[in-house]
Each structure stands twice: as C-alpha cells, then as structure tokens.
C-alpha cells in the first residue's frame, strides 16, 4: 500500500498529504483514490489553515484541501469500484471509551441524541460474561431495509455499503422496523448541529441531516475515498475496530493490519444474529482475553450515559 501511494508524482504538497493525512490515518484502504482527491482539491480558495504533520512539524495548507470529497447523489449510488468493504470489531478490547461514538457524531454533524454507532452492554445469558458491544450499521448483503423502502431512498452499492439518500427519503420509517438491529435513526426535528455543515448534501457524507428523514452509519465512504479509515475505526484508542476489504482480504485499525480470513478463522469471528439471514458485513471477534474488566467501561461516563446501563442485568446486579 505504501508503495502504491509513492507511485504518484511528488510535489511538496502531495508529500505532505501523504504523510500527514493519509499515512497517519491508516493506509490500507483506498490508496488508489488519493489522486482523484488531490486533483479535485488542487484549486484552493487561498484560505490557509495550520496542521500538524505526523513528523511533528506545523504546516500551512489550503483549507479546501482538508475538505472531504462529496460526490453527487447519482455518483453515490455506484459504489467505489472493485471494492467490498468489511468491518471487524474485537470485543475483547472494547472498554466503552465511546470515542467512536463522539468522533462519528462530530464527523457527521449529529446531535448528541443521534448515534450512528451505539455501544451496548450485552450479556447473552445469566451465567455468561457481560461485554461491551459497539454496533455500527451492519451493511447487510441481504438488507431488509433496502427491500422494504417504497421509494428507493436506501440502496445497496457494489462495494457493499448501504446508504440513504435523504433527499429521496419520505420518512415512512418502514426501514426502521425492517432493520432487526435498531440501527437506523430518525430526525424527529431539525437539530442545530445540522447547520454546522455548509457543504452540499451527499449520501456518502450523511450530512447535513434533514428533519423527517432516516439516517444511519454509512461506513464513511467520503473518508474511504481519500484513503482514510471510518471515523470510528481511527478514533478508537484501543484499536477495537478494524476496517478493510474482503477481496483484498485485509483489515486494519490504523496500527495493526491483518489478513481478514485468517483473523476470522483464528479468532473465531462471527456475525451477530446470523440466524436472521441478513448476511452482515460486520464481523465480531468474541470477547476473550479481555484487556479490561467490564466495569472499566463505566469510568468517566456522563451520568446520562451511565443511566443507560442501569436496567441491564449487569447494571441491576451491581446497582449502578
């Protein structure tokens, strides 16, 4: 991957981007697409911002260069060519730090009440161990949400991603009842956070949000296009979330890269509620060899977040 990126002609600006934006965030994904991004970013507004490179230097770059590409709605239906994305979540490492949730909300300009990524405290049965369970959209290969949509506002792309076009969405919420994983969120009103985003809407960015429509985790294809990992994967301090490509058979969390098939084979990876036949693109590694005890997840939590887990079997037992 590193070699692939080096193929591009060198210029100081590109050199910077390669180091500071791409390399730092995990290079495994979408390397070839960086060129497109650079070309589109070439015409700047002249406004400069200071950024810190991975080498520790402060550099001034054109503000437009930091913007993520926003493809048109039509383009967003196609999917990134030749890719099939997959996510692997290592439950053994999650300690409910909630960085995935926070960075995702910031990146998608969401209010606190809307979470594309949710962290559950699950316990499969009374005697089994409780564990933290980060849950994005599973981007199912047999997505019921897509089947039931009456207007084609939600669609499955060739790269496996399920997106929502909120310009098309009529807000009937049938997809929300169709999804067995409670993944989708509805904009019950207009949130001020939506206004922070001044860019034109693109389903790939799931932003700006729109009152009366459904939205959800989108696997951040706008980040993938510039060779970055989704917000949640790069934000996680524990490296719980691996993202990659099934066809390349590679997943990475930014610091470690694994062969996807070997990881799933050796660590007994599974998909949540396989029995439902939705064929998710998100795999879980069982919560074994824990790096943290479960109750570490309650450290530094807001009271309102902590209250969520009060009525869980674990919460009731330990009188949260």
């Amino acid at each position: 991957m590193e070699e692939e990126l080096n193929k591009h002609p060198k210029s100081s600006r590109r050199q910077f981007l390669k180091k500071g934006l791409v390399a730092g965030a995990g290079v495994a994904v979408g390397g070839g697409l960086v060129t497109t991004y650079l070309d589109s970013a070439a015409s700047g507004t002249g406004e400069k911002v200071k950024v810190l490179t991975t080498g520790g230097d402060i550099m001034e770059v054109d503000k437009d260069m930091l913007k993520l590409p926003r493809v048109s709605i039509k383009e967003s239906h196609k999917g990134i060519q030749g890719r099939k994305f997959v996510m692997v979540i290592d439950l053994g490492k999650c300690k409910n730090a909630r960085k995935c949730v926070e960075v995702c909300q910031k990146g998608h300009h969401l209010p606190k009440s809307q979470e594309f990524m949710k962290v559950y405290l699950l316990q499969d049965s009374e005697k089994t161990s409780p564990y933290w369970f980060p849950k994005p959209c599973f981007h199912c290969d047999n997505p019921l949400c897509v089947s039931v949509c009456p207007v084609g506002a939600t669609y499955k792309r060739t790269d496996g991603i399920v997106l929502i076009d909120n310009n098309r969405c009529i807000g009937c919420k049938f997809c929300m009842t169709g999804c067995p994983y409670s993944t989708r969120v509805f904009a019950w009103k207009h949130y001020s956070e939506y206004d922070e985003d001044k860019e034109p809407y693109s389903p790939e960015a799931s932003s700006p949000g729109k009152e009366g429509t459904v939205s959800k985790c989108d696997f951040c294809p706008d980040l993938i296009r510039v060779g970055k990992l989704p917000y949640c994967a790069s934000a996680c301090p524990m490296g719980v979330i691996y993202f990659g490509d099934v066809d390349e058979d590679t997943v990475t969390n930014g610091t470690e890269t694994f062969q996807f098939s070997a990881l799933i084979r050796d660590r007994a990876g599974y998909r949540y509620l396989e029995v439902l036949g939705t064929r998710p693109c998100v795999y879980y590694l069982p919560p074994v060899d824990r790096q943290f005890p479960v109750d570490r997840g309650f450290n530094d939590l807001d009271e309102s977040i902590k209250n969520r887990y009060k009525s869980t079997p674990y919460g009731e037992k330990h009188k949260l």
Binding site: S113, Y120, S147, V148, I170, T177, S182, K306
Partner: protein, 437 residues
C-alpha cells in the same frame, strides 16, 4: 314515483330537508374537534415529529394503530354488504346502505393516519414517482386506492335507484341545486327493465370484486408487519388474522351505527331486533374466529418460544396486562356470551357488546404495533424514558379524536344528502316482517 304517500322516503324527508338545532350543535361540536385536530397537525408540521410520542425504537404509534383500525372498520361494507348482497340475504336491505357509508368514510380517513406518520409529507408524491414494486408499502398504495375506487363504484351503483327516487319525488322541499345534483347523479335511471337488469349485473360483479379487493387490502396491510423480522410480527397467520379482525370490527361498527340511526332518525319501523341479532350472529362467528387465531398465534409464540418471543410475551402479560385481557379475552368472550345465549340477546346488550368489541379491537392493534417495537432484538439501552416506553402525546390523541369526529361528521352529512336506509329496496319489500329469530 306514483305512490308517494306510502313511500318510506317520507320517513327520511325531515332530515333530508332540514337540520334541527341539535343537528347543528352536533355538527359544530364535531367541527370544533376537527379544528383542534388541525391545530395539533400544524404543531406537528412546524415543530417536527418530536411533538409525538414516537421515538427511534417505537417509530410507529397510535397513528398506525388508527390506520389499521379504520381500515378494519371499512370492512363493514366491503365484506358484509358485499356478501349479503351476493347471497341475496333478505334482511340486509335496511342496513346495507349504512354498511357502505361506513366503508367509504373509513376508507377515506384510514390512509390519512399513514400520512400523519410520514416524516416528509412534501415528498409524498415520490410514492408514485419513484414507487418500488418490491416494497409492501407500494402494494398497500395500489391496494388501497383500488379499494377506494371499487367501493365508491359499489356504493354508487347501490345509490342509483335512490337518487332517481329523490329526483322524481316532487314534494320534497329542497333547494334547486340539490335537485340538480340528484338529477345529474341519477344518470337518467328510470327503472326500465333493461336498466334494472344491467344495474343488477353490475352490482353483482362489484360486490364480488369488493370482497376480493378487501381481502387483498387487509392482507397487504398485515404483510407490512409480517414481512419484517421483528418478534411478534414475523408471523404467517397475520394475513388471515388481520382480515378476520377487520370484518369483526366492521360488524361491530355496523351495529353501533344501526343503533344510533335507529334512535336519531326514528327508524324503529325498519331496523328491527332481527337485524341486530343477524349482524350480532355475524359478529359472534367472527369473534370465535378471531379468538381462535389470536390463541393460535400466541400459543406458538409462548410454547416453543425464542428469546425475543419470550420477552414479548412477558411484556404483554406484565406491562400490557389489562389491555391484553380486554382485547383478547373480553373482546372475544363477550360477543359469544351475549349473542350466543338467547336470554341476553337484546338490542341494548348487543350494542353495548359492539362498543366493547370496538375498544377491544383498537387495543388489539395497539398490542400488535407497540409492544413489539418496545422489545427489539437488541435491548433498548437508553436513559431517556420516552425512548423506552411509548406514550402517545396530546398531538396524537387530538388527531385520533379528530379522525373519529371526521368519521361522524361525514356520516352525518351523508345521511343529510342520501337516506341511510335504501328506500328503493324497501319499496319493493312490501311490509317489514315482524321478527326473525
């Protein structure tokens, strides 16, 4: 017509010709409720669906319950009047018009509740513009619009002879414009043998069609729920179960309408005890079927229960204990006892039973929609109580009341324009019989 003196139309002339003070008060009262509903609707549009009790888990609430409920009520006409017509049941004549009114009016109101549930009403036309045939909602749009159209034709065919009677009835004190409307709507029907033959054939065909369409509509409605994977919804029995529940509620509403119009318009001569008993027996049979389907559905969920079915059953028997008892025990057993035992079989008892059945069936729909959404596969973990427990807000209740008021208003207005009892049919039937049972 020649024998105007004997015409039952005289019985209806007062309400067709003028409205009493109580009548006006009633209409104003209904308009006030509808006005309040409009205010609630404006609140919902301007402030967003945040004003409702619906949240990300329970995304469908009382609106959808009302939608299923009114669609069910519309069965009064579709199946009951259709079936009675096809089997030439003699006693149907005085009540068939009411059944058809109920059908059309509830068919117009029901889909309105779906609209209240839609987040972006401004894009509603996308359902047609970008409609996907794979989606059960598209099936629903096609089925319901066909049903409305079919039922309107059926009603109109049944009205034709009465419209001709009203047109020809010289001494009726009516403004000119109304006479003109009757004339236009009567389509030059004079009762010639050829016309009668054609009308009969058309009505027969439409009666059969309406029954078929009605079954499709309600099955499609059920499939919106049962095609999903949600515990409690993902059930094969839902199609027939919804159809039975719908006809059941239709029969109950018909009984209530019969009782009201009998009182208000003094139709004691035409709507007799035998009619109450006859529709009551239909209600009894449907109650038995409904009870059987309900039992069958819950038994299989409870006996070999998956984890989520178990959670749902627990929820139904704990949090929703009383609604569950009323809808699935009282609503089933009461009609069996009251209509089944001859001693209890009075007009008042049957009507009270019908009212309870209606409440039970509304609760039954609530128990289908809400508890399932409150017990998804992934447990709801939230600190906001309203995301845990659905409770309809004043906006939703106001719009529910407005829907019922609109139903009553349209029924009242319709009865001012057209007799609620099929006059032409009664003229053929020389004298009403005394008692049937």
């Amino acid at each position: 017509m020649e024998n105007e003196q004997n015409s039952p139309i005289k019985e209806f002339a007062p309400q067709l010709e003028r409205t009493s003070i109580q009548g006006y008060a009633w209409i104003i009262f209904l308009l006030a409720i509808i006005g309040w509903g409009v205010y609630a609707f404006i609140q919902q549009v301007t402030r967003g669906h945040d004003v409702t009790g619906m949240r990300d888990n329970v995304v469908w609430g009382v609106y959808i319950v009302n939608f299923i409920f009114f669609m069910g009520v519309s069965y009064a006409g579709a199946l009951i009047s259709g079936t009675l017509h096809l089997f030439h049941t003699a006693w149907r004549k005085p009540i068939i018009r009411m059944a058809e009114f109920i059908t059309i009016i509830s068919l117009l109101i029901g889909p309105g509740y779906i609209l209240l549930c839609i987040g972006r009403l401004d894009k509603l036309y996308y359902l047609v513009l970008f409609g996907r045939i794979q989606s059960p909602i598209t099936w629903d749009v096609i089925a319901i619009s066909t049903d409305i159209f079919g039922c309107l034709i059926f009603l109109y065919l049944a009205l034709l002879r009465d419209l001709a009677t009203l047109r020809d009835y010289e001494s009726l004190q009516l403004p000119k414009w109304r006479k003109r409307i009757y004339k236009i709507l009567a389509l030059g029907y004079t009762g010639a043998p050829e016309q009668q033959k054609r009308l009969k054939r058309a009505t027969d065909i439409m009666a059969a069609m309406v029954i078929a369409i009605a079954i499709i509509v309600y099955s499609v409605l059920a499939w919106i729920f049962s095609v999903t994977l949600q515990p409690g919804w993902h059930s094969t029995i839902f199609g027939p179960y919804f159809v039975i529940a719908a006809v059941f509620s239709g029969s109950a509403v018909l009984i209530i309408a019969m009782w009201l119009f009998r009182k208000i318009y003094h139709l004691e001569k035409y709507i007799l005890k035998k009619h109450f008993v006859a529709v009551g027996v239909i209600m009894l049979v449907l109650a038995a079927f409904f009870g059987y389907f309900t039992f069958s559905d819950y038994l299989t969920k409870w006996y070999g229960s998956e984890k989520n079915d178990e959670l749902l059953i627990q929820l139904l028997f704990k949090k929703f204990y009383w609604p569950f008892i009323i809808s699935n025990y009282v609503g089933v057993l009461l009609p069996l006892i009251v209509v089944g035992i001859a001693k209890f079989r009075t007009i008042t008892n049957i009507t009270i039973t019908a009212v309870i059945v209606i409440i039970a069936l509304w609760l039954n729909r609530y128990l289908i929609v809400v508890p399932t959404l409150e017990s998804p596969y992934l447990p709801i973990q939230d600190s906001r109580p309203e995301w845990f427990n659905y409770g309809a807000t004043w906006v939703e209740w106001s719009l529910t009341a407005a829907g019922i008021a609109l139903f009553c208003l349209l029924f009242t207005l319709a009865s001012k324009f057209i007799p609620v009892v099929q006059v032409s049919e009664l003229q053929e039937e020389a004298k009403p019989e005394e008692v049937l049972v």
